[in-house]
């Protein structure tokens, strides 16, 4: 595998480490990595730090190449990477968004308690498994024409609301209200659309899931209440998915386009996967229009799946959707590039903020967050692995100042799939989870070891860093009761 990263780091404080510009000629800004000293050891085991360095080469990058504590090795950008480039003379890089455009998380609260649902979990998990198409090669139950798909790409989640799926009020509590502006289906290739058409409304495979959870700890009761979380033992639901084949094809297509463009724009980069083009160039604008379309596809996806979750709960528990109180808390994109205005040296500057495996974390009062959260800050949804826990947090002023309003997005893998399988050979993962009170239903039960807790870092360590560093504030911790996976 890759060698250990032995570069020098300067300690800024307990949770921040700087890779100085002097590390490598060509770095325009330093790298700043959020991590505890303990986590640094694991992070150094792969070349993710070198990727933080490479991102610092991007033209127009402001301040620093940032990495969140769940950093791990990605393509071009590390996963957990955040970089803001100036719109006027900087670049946009598809690798700074990732293949799974708008991979993200939606979370719902309910009026249910864990004690009420536990006796019905088997039935509930099975029903969710059939309601939410998952797994490799899964096709959705939404049959859309090419024309309708184009509408999905423009309207995002609103398309689904107009079709009678989900609620209009869900849109207000979704990043970008479920539809990013500037989306142009004409910039999405026929191949991307062909891949996306049959997959609309499917969760996919890999680390994507729909999960029934129970709140086990509340750190900020007042903030939690604003989000509809009143007590320990309350049931919540989390859906983690992205833009499926469509988003991956958009990324693939534009990596090609930009790979050809870099020499034309005189950009030199240490890694081909960092291919980019000026934000305001035709290539940059085309990518952003296609990316927004893919993002809207992903929001439609999560919106539809949340709708089926509600339907399933109502049917299995024999109660009305209204009485279940299944409201969306929030929906975040953790693979995306956004045009945002940030204050640099007292001036408002237009930036293209790349968040690849990082979650926007805007503070209280920010104009881009829903009114209902103006007082507490934007909810941040941080899923962990299926055997442990996930976190709910909020954005902070500190994040806006230090990380362009960004924080972590999850646990991050620790073991490769093969290594996880080998180390868990002979272990019945489903049974082991069942013993812990977690029911799992997956298309490929044989592959469950790849997603076991051992394969992931402990997300509690990750959110400890973001909380202590002040770039998000922990509000609650949930544990899984039932998981549906691909």
């Amino acid at each position: 595998m890759s060698p250990r990263w032995e570069g020098k780091l300067r300690r800024i404080d307990d949770y921040r480490w700087e890779i100085p510009r002097s590390y490598k000629a060509g770095m325009r800004v330093p790298g700043i990595v959020y991590a505890s000293e303990e986590m640094l050891e694991t992070i150094r085991e792969e070349q993710a730090m070198e990727q933080v360095v490479n991102v610092a080469f991007l033209p127009g990058i402001e301040c620093c190449s940032l990495a969140m504590p769940d950093i791990h090795w990605g393509y071009g950008f590390p996963i957990g990477g955040v970089a803001a480039t100036r719109v006027k003379d900087g670049v946009v890089s598809p690798g700074g968004v990732g293949f799974d455009i708008n991979c993200g998380v939606r979370m719902l609260r309910t009026n249910l308690t864990a004690d009420e649902v536990k006796p019905r979990m088997e039935e509930l998990v099975n029903a969710l498994f059939y309601a939410i198409p998952s797994g490799v090669g899964a096709e959705g139950k939404l049959r859309v024409s090419e024309k309708e798909l184009d509408q999905v790409l423009v309207k995002g989640a609103r398309w689904a609301v107009e079709k009678g799926l989900g609620l209009a009020e869900d849109l207000a509590v979704c990043e970008e209200e479920g539809a990013m502006k500037g989306a142009d289906p004409g910039k999405v290739s026929a191949r991307a659309k062909a891949r996306g058409k049959p997959q609309l409304g499917t969760v996919g495979s890999g680390n994507h899931f729909a999960e029934v959870q129970e709140v086990v700890e509340i750190f900020e009761p007042d903030m939690a209440k604003v989000m509809g979380i009143q007590h320990v033992g309350q049931v919540t639901v989390m859906v983690h998915s992205g833009s499926r084949g469509l988003g991956h094809q958009v990324c693939t297509d534009y990596l090609e386009v930009m790979g050809r463009a870099i020499s034309r724009y005189g950009i030199s980069l240490p890694d081909r996967q960092l291919a980019c083009a000026p934000v305001e160039s035709p290539e940059g604008q085309d990518y952003l229009a296609a990316m927004a379309a893919a993002a809207n596809y992903a929001w439609t996806n999560r919106h539809c799946m949340a709708h089926w979750v509600r339907e399933t709960f109502a049917r299995v528990l024999g109660r009305s959707e209204v009485s279940l109180g299944m409201r969306v808390i929030y929906d975040v994109a953790h693979n995306i590039a956004k045009m945002e205005k940030h204050v640099i040296d007292g001036e408002r500057v237009s930036l293209c903020v790349h968040r690849k495996g990082a979650t926007r974390a805007f503070p209280p009062g920010h104009p881009d967050i829903p009114d209902v959260y103006k007082k507490i800050g934007q909810p941040v949804l941080i899923p962990g692995d299926m055997g442990r826990y996930s976190f709910l947090a909020v954005g902070t002023e500190r994040a806006l100042k230090d990380t362009w309003g960004s924080t972590c997005h999850g646990a991050g893998r620790r073991l490769s799939r093969g290594a996880a399988k080998r180390s868990l050979k002979g272990v019945n993962i489903a049974q082991r989870l069942r013993d812990k009170g977690i029911l799992v239903r997956a298309t490929s039960m044989g592959e469950l070891a790849e997603e076991a807790s051992e394969a992931y870092k402990d997300v509690a360590q990750v959110v400890e860093v973001t909380h202590q560093a002040g770039i998000s504030r922990n509000v609650a911790r949930m544990r899984p009761l039932g998981v549906v996976k691909g």
Binding site: Y75, F99, G206, C251, E256, S416, G418, S444, E447
Partner: protein, 140 residues
Amino acid sequence: MGVKKRFAVIEHTADIGIVAYGSDLKEAFANAAYGFFSLITEPRRIRASLEREVEVRAEDLEGLIVAWLGEFIYLFDVEQLLFKKFVIEELSETHLKATVHGEKVDLQRHRLKLGIKAVTRHQLSVVARDGVEARVIFDI
């Protein structure tokens, strides 16, 4: 004939890859495709009951293998096709033409173990030295 290794799996923390071997480019490319499908399912369970013409172009050999394997991601996503036999008829630095044999997914017989969503350029290489070695990492 001795048993020659067609490919090996590369472990990557978050993803997976293959290194494909061949005595020449054609063989290495065919083995890369075989390795690709063996990540998704058991190739010996795939029947060669239908065939497709595949033709791809790129600016260089590395781009060509990305396009070649990308074609199979597309055919799998859009038509649920699995392939096991790859007859490469023409192969230059920038162009590949092949006839590939396989069938549509049948969940009664095929266990799908992995979804491959993109071919990356991460550590991508096609090297000719005592035969050909092609290294590709996939996004899954």
